[in-house]
Symmetry: C2
Subunit: 226 residues, 2 copies
Amino acid sequence: MTTESPESHEYPVTARTTFKRLAYRGTYDRAVVHAILDEGLVCHVAFDVDGRPALIPTAYARQGERLLLHGSPGNRMLRALAAGTEACVCVTLLDGIVLARSAFHHSVNYRCVVIYGRAVEVTDPAEKREALRAVVEHVAPGRFEDVRAPTDDEVTMTKVIALPIVEASAKVRTGPPLDDEPDYALSMWAGILPVRSTFAAPEPCPRLDPRTPVPGHVSGYRRPGA
Amino acid sequence: MTTESPESHEYPVTARTTFKRLAYRGTYDRAVVHAILDEGLVCHVAFDVDGRPALIPTAYARQGERLLLHGSPGNRMLRALAAGTEACVCVTLLDGIVLARSAFHHSVNYRCVVIYGRAVEVTDPAEKREALRAVVEHVAPGRFEDVRAPTDDEVTMTKVIALPIVEASAKVRTGPPLDDEPDYALSMWAGILPVRSTFAAPEPCPRLDPRTPVPGHVSGYRRPGA
């Protein structure tokens, strides 16, 4: 692993994060990695169980240069990661369907981040509480102050782990289809069908007093960067 | 592994697919698994490299009871899977943000499928061609017939692998927040913020003749089940 000053705007390149293919789509730029992590809602976590890969989707939050995951103390992924198992985490944003003139050049526009590493468990109650706040605020910015805060028991009953964002990279495809030169003369439509994550009208809990106003953090919900 | 008749409407339960937590959200129902796979656009593939997990997002298609992946022959994930490496594939659909009255009970509504297993490479040119058709049709239903078909060289230049959908399960959360009973008396808004994948106005390729009509499979694009 190369060493870089903490002020570097790029993550250090390692054997695992060296781009093997389509390297021009890859970047180690911290700002790009952060923006993707901050916009995403769900990550996928790969880890080995008995020497074979397993994969779990879960919520998360970025807290500076670490990725926070949380859940039940019985969650086997969190237990494995807390025990120091190697993990690989990916956040993928799908931006468009690339409709080329040839079947061969069909593709998707996307932004994804891959992080490799070993997590550590967060055990200090105050630090855990702050992590739980970060996860709620990641999924629903502005909500934490409006809801009933975690009790000490709830903090105890939640396992929190933190994966350092050190061995990290992003890959991004943007732009129109790239067809073979002769195919541009063909007559079929070609272009991008943009894909968006959108948020429909909020559905109140059936047990909610119907006079309860919808707060601005729900009615005006948007992802950062979107 | 248990054995079941091919007519069973459920996948056989194995050690790896036995639900460890929140089992009531899990199902082995083929129809549920198929519907999630057919609606999704991108899967995540976990596989080991030098004994450590790696994770890659990619397009796919379901073809009966197998999941097709494709790409460059140099793609290390496809090469590993073609060589018989154990894989774990996940397709996740995010349906809503669950805004509870307590921070602790915040959650997301989702549907996900996890498939464990070993893939085989598809090498027969006719079968590969059919697989490439399936992948284009998965991402853009109705498009394959409109575009320039793969040449023999393009078929040769594409690696296709098929993962049997045998060791598979789905997990689904739906419905309103589930708060602790005393918290229902609290006054803040609670409910679901539905998340939808939507498709914006198609963006024509800059090199497209502007008189080219937008075909129905683009203007009327929708995912199956959505």
